[in-house]
Amino acid sequence: MDRRAYLRGFASATAIGVAGCSDTLGDQSYPSQSITIIVPWAQGGGTDRSTRILVSPWKEEIGGEFVVENYSGGSTQVGGEQLYNAKPDGYTVSMWNLPQMNATRLFQDAPYTIEDFDYIGTNHFDPTMWFAGTQTPYENMTDLIDAARDQPGEITVGLTSAVGNTALSALLIQETYDVEFNLVNLEGGSSVRQSVLGGQVPVVVNQPWAFNPTNIGEVTPLGSHTSERQSLWPDTPSFAELNLGDVPLVDEGLGQWKLMMAPGGLEEEYPDRYQALVDSYKRAMETEEYQERAAEQGSLNEILRYNNPEDTFEIVQNVSNSMREFEGLFEAFRNQ
């Protein structure tokens, strides 16, 4: 066999392999090929885990295959642009987060707006919560604010991202009580977890589920940025209970939504496919299998919250409005 013949053989073998993977059965029965779920975070994180446990029940409900693809980076903008540029044909969806989606638009010049997507439904709401290492003297949020008043700029507070809900919570506390923290973006739940357990950072802000409460080891929860107590940490007071109701967004609850979305235009171009996604997603979330799998992942089932497409869009709009309202705070933080 000479080199050319060998190359030809190798190339055609590769081509057959590739063709074998894609299946082109035509359009009459949706889904006729696998549906890609874009996760705009790396493997193993909270968004990734809540998506992957959904795949099996959703597969049953829609009668098709799913492929999870991770595109991490740029505080979800890399994955977001993948979704934005995908064809609205019902074969690409994404499990995205609020307020990251709005923040990338406002502060990173992302090309999309909230109108550029179709919404399938929400998945869960994880509020913002403050935690301290057990070696620190703080027992609740009030202690921390008092301490910050005495030593301006001295207490380091670790955040999960530069422009998300954890940063906003810290900025709002600073603004309301005229205190100053030493804010550091630790980029991601995993390093936030490591820094507070390892004692490198005394205080961190995170979402309690992402923080994996049943599983975290020794930390002191200081309070949640909500009016009600958070169901996963029933012993921890909310900001309202601690008389911190002056802080904006306590009544509404500041936290992170995860939601299932599709590229805009799907509802208009393929209403049947859109409806199939919406209905099967809702049913999948209700299945016993999903509830059980969610329970295994640090009681995710406790905070699952489904909303239909209309209500989902309303939530997106509300979050977008409050992010815009506090845009100045973020700008000041980023320019300091």
Binding site: R49, N70, S72, N215
Partner: protein, 501 residues
């Protein structure tokens, strides 16, 4: 064994029972084999193998699925060394330094000998790392938690300084190459405020340039061009000794060097357990230490078997090490274990404190599967060595096109992106220029590998310590030790360079 059982009663026994079920045993056999096949493809790392096969495991029982993935992970780390030895192209970042001595042996017809050594040390190091995971997991996990941003930054700098020392090349060129690698790693969003840098309107570049793509370009693509220029793999086919004899010689070579082997293994376990650093960093550090303590440092890079022992014991030991923080505190110790966390979620395992109480049986079965998996690496590796070795005798007109196609597929597969293919080709050209100008390519690669966590560690550590340089550098005892190591490493290399001039 009985001592271990006394230490961990209860779940241990049932874990062993679970492991001995036929489907689980089959999962180990198939997992290790698949890991070896994919890991041996130039440019397919263990991480990519895990990501590729995670969805395949969904229909299976968690014990079968997770044992399969952990076995494939071990097989893939081991197999990265096969192409490193045979055609000078590392199958994965953890096998970069295996090339240095492995390929020299191949060129002189002793590929089977090198492969046998690689299989023996990989398997044995994996078993020792599994013992470490079982016996010292919680202690090491506490220590790993102490590795905060500052310590990771200093570890990255240490890794950069050792490269020219290890390869015996100019300190200045080594540091320049490393700095270029660091610069490449700054492409993408900055770690504090997520502002884009040098992304040229390419959304994908917001997440930076993946170091696996750089590795494929520099080591795989560029090496194929040089191979084409050289003509044949074997330069002096002097060793005509029988392949079987080379296998036994390989086994004897390892038995005669227990200190070298154990040193590499412990470096691997330790670096593997640190969050962020895995086999990719461990093999450099182990090689450097091996050379520092060797009686024959001049032989390194010219086919010293101690070089392969250091590289391959350390990279396989990182698996057990990396599982320590992953299982005990839920913080992945490497890219591969981050991919494993994702698979754990699918199969209902929630790592972190309390995991051993909640899912003890499955976790012990997983740890025990490491023992069997690594014995299989030994068996597959030794029995395959004489056949793999023949690859070096295949004419290059078959090897080069095959490897280049695989390199392109591998670059694409990292992030399913065409852009990465062009980045890979660009770094292929860079690699050719670097070799011609006598710059150590490996400095560039280690710069790109550690650049991400070096920058993040620096910026976070600097902010946490409020911009106080003394407080920053003296953040902990670990950081002071690392500082001393960095200074020593630079001084020793500079003095050695002067002497050799």
């Amino acid at each position: 064994m009985t001592a271990v059982l006394l230490l961990f009663p209860g779940a241990l026994g049932t874990g062993l029972g679970l492991l001995l079920q036929p489907p689980v045993i089959a999962a180990i056999f198939i997992g290790v084999a698949i890991g070896i096949i994919f890991g041996a493809i130039p440019g397919f790392s263990a991480t990519m193998t895990l990501i590729l096969f995670t969805p395949v495991t969904i229909p299976f029982d968690p014990s079968v699925a997770l044992v399969f993935l952990v076995s494939a992970y071990g097989g893939a780390v081991y197999a990265g060394s096969i192409p490193a030895i045979l055609i000078n192209t590392p199958g994965a970042p953890g096998s970069v330094v295996t090339c240095w001595d492995g390929y020299e042996l191949t060129k002189s017809g002793r590929a089977t000998y090198a492969l046998a050594v690689s299989a023996v040390v990989s398997g044995l190091a994996g078993i020792i790392a599994a013992v470490a995971l079982l016996a010292t997991g919680p202690i090491l996990a506490d220590f790993a938690l102490g590795f905060g941003p500052v310590e990771l930054f200093l570890l990255a700098i240490f890794a950069l300084t050792i490269i020219p020392a290890a390869k015996g090349q100019s300190l200045l060129k080594g540091l320049l190459g490393g700095t270029f690698g660091l610069l490449v790693a700054t492409v993408g969003s900055d770690p504090q405020l997520a502002q884009p840098r040098a992304i040229f309107d390419q959304p994908l570049l917001r997440s930076g340039i993946d170091f696996v793509v750089v590795l494929i370009g520099l080591f795989v693509f560029a090496e194929m061009i040089f191979l084409a220029a050289r003509g044949e793999i074997l330069t002096t086919d002097t060793d005509r000794s029988d392949d079987r004899a080379q296998v036994f010689e390989g086994i004897r070579a390892v038995i005669a060097r227990p200190v070298e082997f154990l040193r590499g293994t412990f470096i691997g376990i330790f670096i593997g357990s640190l969050p962020g650093a895995g086999a990719d960093v461990a093999n450099f550090v182990a090689y450097n230490e091996a050379k520092r303590w060797a009686s024959n440092p001049a032989e390194f890079g010219k086919g010293a078997i101690e070089g392969i022992i250091a590289a391959d014991s350390s990279n396989n030991a990182t698996q057990g090490g990396a599982l320590i923080p992953t299982l005990t505190v839920g913080i992945p110790g490497s890219g591969s274990t981050a991919a494993l966390l994702s698979a754990f979620a699918i199969h209902g395992l929630n790592p972190g404190p309390g995991l051993f109480q909640r899912s003890g049986v499955l976790v012990y079965a997983l740890i025990f599967s490491l023992f069997l998996g690594n014995i299989l690496i030994l068996v597959y590796g030794l029995s395959g060595a004489q056949y793999f070795g023949k690859i070096s005798r295949i004419p290059i007109r078959y090897i080069i096109p095959t490897v280049i196609v695989l390199a392109i597929v591998g670059a694409f597969a990292v992030r399913n992106s065409y852009l990465d293919i062009f980045i890979m080709l660009l770094f292929g050209l860079v690699g050719i220029i670097l070799v011609i100008s006598d710059y150590p390519m490996v400095s560039v690669v280690i710069g790109v590998i550690v650049g991400g966590f070096a920058e993040e560690g620096f910026v976070q550590g600097w902010t946490i310590n409020q911009g106080d340089a003394v407080q920053f550098l003296a953040a902990s005892n670990i950081s002071i030790i690392l500082l001393i190591l960095i200074v020593l490493s630079l001084v020793i290399t500079a003095v050695r360079n002067r002497q050799s001039e």
